[in-house]
């Protein structure tokens, strides 16, 4: 039983960090894409959606080749004293990457659903662009963004392939629940594996229920 708390705490830490980073990055990129009028927009959108469809092992390999000690940016990161491979920060990067499209897609849809007349009205009333964003656009899109963030959190909780490749399997340091489940199943420890599987499943169900409850479609139905 005590074997489950350390990976659980680590998994929550990694998933929360990944969700927080994605909230900032995903919302910023989504707002830019929602307002950017250019044919290149959909190309950028597609590239940013890649983590959703690429096998996590492919993403993990990219990360390893880019960020590893002998990787493209490895020597440069090494000089800065930044170590990502086999660290929990590496696990955060992997989870952030795979969950990014979930926040970005939801946030973009939410921003595009905001009535531009409301933003124009705020401008007419003298608000600067930053204030328009924080006091009009963002609050109106908050529900959709939150739903996306919950999906991203659930995805980050379960992240396995890319995490295993870049963060490895270091008990107590990078061994998240998914990795611990894999190790337990390989070792034939079905009791521990079953317990951890139940915890992950329950957490994901709660996150999905919350996301569904917050989803824009449902909100409209409730209001009408």
């Amino acid at each position: 039983m005590d074997g489950i708390w350390v990976p659980l705490a680590l998994t929550l830490k990694v998933a929360l960090w990944a969700t927080a980073i994605n909230l900032v990055l995903g919302v910023a990129v989504a707002f830019g894409l929602a307002r950017w009028r250019s044919p290149a927009r959909e190309v950028v959108d597609s590239v940013l959606t890649l983590p959703l469809v690429l096998p996590p092992t492919v993403l993990g390999y990219y990360l390893l080749v880019l960020l590893g000690r002998r990787g493209v940016f490895g020597a440069w990161l090494d000089r800065l004293g930044i170590e990502l491979v086999f660290t929990w920060q590496g696990a955060v990067i992997a989870s952030t990457l795979v969950a990014f499209p979930l926040v970005q897609k939801a946030a973009r849809a939410a921003f595009e659903a905001v009535d531009p007349q409301l933003e124009d009205a705020a401008r007419v009333l003298g608000l600067r662009e930053m204030a328009v964003f924080f006091r009009v656009s963002l609050p109106l899109a908050a529900r959709g963004i939150t739903a996306g963030a919950l999906l991203a959190f659930a995805r980050a909780l379960g992240e396995f392939g890319a995490t295993l490749m870049i963060a490895g399997n270091l008990p107590g340091r990078t061994q998240t629940l998914s990795v611990a489940i894999y190790a337990a199943v390989q070792a034939g420890d079905d009791r521990t594996a079953g317990l951890m599987v139940a915890v992950v499943s329950a957490t994901c169900v709660v996150a999905l229920l919350l996301a569904g409850w917050l989803a824009p479609g449902r909100a409209r139905r409730v209001r009408s």
Partner: protein
């Protein structure tokens, strides 16, 4: 013309299923290169048989077989995994034989950044991480733990441990320079001799011997036994020796 696409799709789907003459050999990850060669040589002699090789950590293979995976031959990297298979009645105990010997080595990345020359150096501050197979499921990891326990170094090394899913992953971590040192079999180190250097041969409390057996649920035990006999034949032994395995 209209029929071609469905027909092609059917062929694509149908070709994925195992035919009657497929002999599935589940072998320890450290046997990857050697058994590819053994399998090819066996196929050359038995053109009616197609050898399908399945490589993973021995305990993973054991779990697959015990769960009913359609394997015919099981070759593991230590006796523990084979003992577990025998206890689970997953193999035919009458067919169990040792077929190869190996050694455990301490390897470092090319250039040896942490100046490691023996297991005693692993406790020092220059070594931040050491890769080895997860002792819970990887024989090479079990040998590593037993060897280091004997030298009273296990707690110090385990604190720096990066647990690999199989011995080849530990080899890869060292080859990429992501860890300062790692434990693999001598034959694994040979495979990556251009990227890793053997710092020391590590004595193990028990000899590293590889057992092989016919899987109890095999639908073609005769073919499986023939493959096992080929592994033990002078030709099979010669191929294994070419990859650095010694005869038992």
């Amino acid at each position: 013309m209209r029929l071609r696409l469905p027909a092609a799709l059917f062929l694509l789907v149908a070709s994925g299923s195992a035919g009657a003459a497929d002999l599935v050999v589940s072998a320890a990850a450290s046997l990857t290169d050697a058994f590819r060669a053994v399998g090819a040589a066996y196929e050359a002699k038995h053109p009616e048989t197609h050898v399908v090789l399945n490589f993973a950590a021995s305990d993973v293979l054991l779990r697959q077989i015990a769960s009913g995976a359609p394997a015919d031959v099981f070759a593991s990297a230590d006796q523990t995994a084979m003992d577990k298979a025998a206890a689970a009645k997953a193999i035919d105990p009458a067919t169990r034989q040792d077929f190869a010997l190996n050694r455990l080595v301490l390897i470092v990345p090319r250039g040896n950044p942490a100046k490691v020359s023996g297991t005693g150096d692993l406790a020092g501050p220059g070594v931040k991480r050491v890769a080895y197979g997860d002792p819970a499921s990887v024989p090479a990891g079990r040998y590593t733990r037993a060897a280091l326990e004997q030298q009273n170094l296990w707690p110090a090394v385990a604190a720096k441990g990066v647990l690999a899913q199989n011995v080849r992953q530990a080899l890869d971590y060292v080859a990429r320079g992501e860890v300062e040192a790692g434990f693999v079999f001598a034959t694994d180190a040979t495979v990556a001799h251009d990227r890793v250097v053997v710092a020391a041969v590590v004595p193990t409390p028990t000899p590293i011997s590889y057992p092989i057996a016919v899987v109890a649920s095999s639908k073609q035990p005769k073919d499986a036994a023939a493959f096992e006999a080929f592994v033990q034949s002078p030709e099979g032994r010669r191929i294994l020796a070419g990859f650095g395995f010694q005869a038992p």
